[in-house]
Symmetry: C2
Subunit: 231 residues, 2 copies
């Protein structure tokens, strides 16, 4: 399909950036909240570190492997829908042509022009099926190599994000000191991360910065309150 | 746009089902892995419960609130891209018509027919912009009311999923008994959940069942190994 210069200027964040954002958003938030929550309930920074690292291992694997399988499922879903369209162009070609014509009519083209367009398009079967996949079903062909890269990117971003709130517990001896340092470095990291994420998406980086920090803060406060209630 | 009977038979899982799957997949996996990991490292089931509930609070808020903000960001992205298209149909209508014509040409329509189709479509400006949003940019209009429902569904599914692996720690007095019971009920829950999820997506429920259980098992084993190494 021809691409014009102008269309490409519309911003779409790359798949890699999206994966880093997915992994790091949760990685910064959940281990932070867990560590803060446990700080109010247990005596030893060692328990916080153990739980935090166990959480990072569990979360990164669950997100990475889960993302990998989801990407594979998407690819199979696309393949099976495509096979179905291929079958239908053989078994009920008139019906399929009528669907394409109706799609055009729905956008204000005359009946005659819509029929002509659908007929012309159906001469090249590959393009015809491509059109139906993308515009009738709204499905894009997934890149099969993406699944593994995506899984690794998400998992590593989760680990990188998760080590930020945990680092102070390795350094500080007292729970209070570690908790305060963890809150400080993580809120700073959430602000910076939210700012960068905001620049890549809606171009309102400052709002994104404080929103991201607020989500992390609320999650941590809730975890702290719950852990305090039990312990 | 006219919808034909036949198109609707293509299965697309509802947004609600998707949200339940997102929340429950992580809710069953991460608290399970964290509890299993801590079981190998601490003496008291109380610490496991505290950490587990803190994780459920943190994870459900991070996922729910994160999902809410992401949905709002999508809605804003759509609105800003739409405003841009509206502006362009006023400022550079010829360019925009040419883009639509090129899209048609890319799918095998003759130059004359493509131009005619683009000209006809541009007479109704609303439809013209709808067409460009959906078919040039691949953006669907997000439902503004979805954000809140989606956030709540994801968060509650996470809580529901997370309580499954934690329940045995409330019942059993010994760590070994609680861990074994947690593994048993959670693997069973993962198999059932994976089976149902598989029926809703690729129609290969048995493969989905064991894959989901394997992801949970690997995450739990990794968390267990790491916690054991530290403690």
């Amino acid at each position: 399909m021809p691409q014009t210069q102008h269309v490409e200027k519309h911003f779409t964040s790359s798949a890699m950036v999206r994966d880093i954002v997915i992994g790091m958003a949760d990685g910064l938030t959940v281990p932070f909240a867990l560590a803060a929550g446990l700080s109010g309930a247990v005596d030893s920074t060692r328990v916080v570190i153990t739980a935090g690292l166990a959480e990072i291992a569990a979360g990164s694997i669950a997100m990475g492997l889960g993302g990998y399988l989801a990407a594979r499922t998407d690819a199979e879903h696309y393949a099976s829908e495509r096979a179905r369209e291929v079958r239908e162009t053989i078994e009920i070609p008139e019906e399929e042509r009528r669907e394409v014509a109706e799609l055009f009519e729905g956008y204000g083209l005359s009946r005659a022009l819509s029929k002509q367009a659908a007929d012309d398009m159906s001469k090249d079967k590959r393009r015809w099926i491509d059109f139906m996949m993308r515009f009738e079903l709204g499905l894009e062909e997934p890149d099969p190599r993406r699944a593994r890269t995506s899984a690794l990117t998400i998992a590593l971003s989760y680990v990188a994000g998760g080590l930020v709130p945990l680092a102070p517990y390795f350094v500080f001896r007292t729970m209070g000191g570690a908790l305060r340092a963890s809150i400080a470095v993580t809120l700073l990291a959430l602000l910076v991360f939210g700012y960068i994420k905001g620049r890549f998406t809606v171009k309102r980086p400052f709002r994104s910065a404080w929103q991201t920090a607020v989500v992390g803060g609320i999650a941590a406060a809730a975890a702290f309150a719950i852990a305090k209630l039990i312990a």
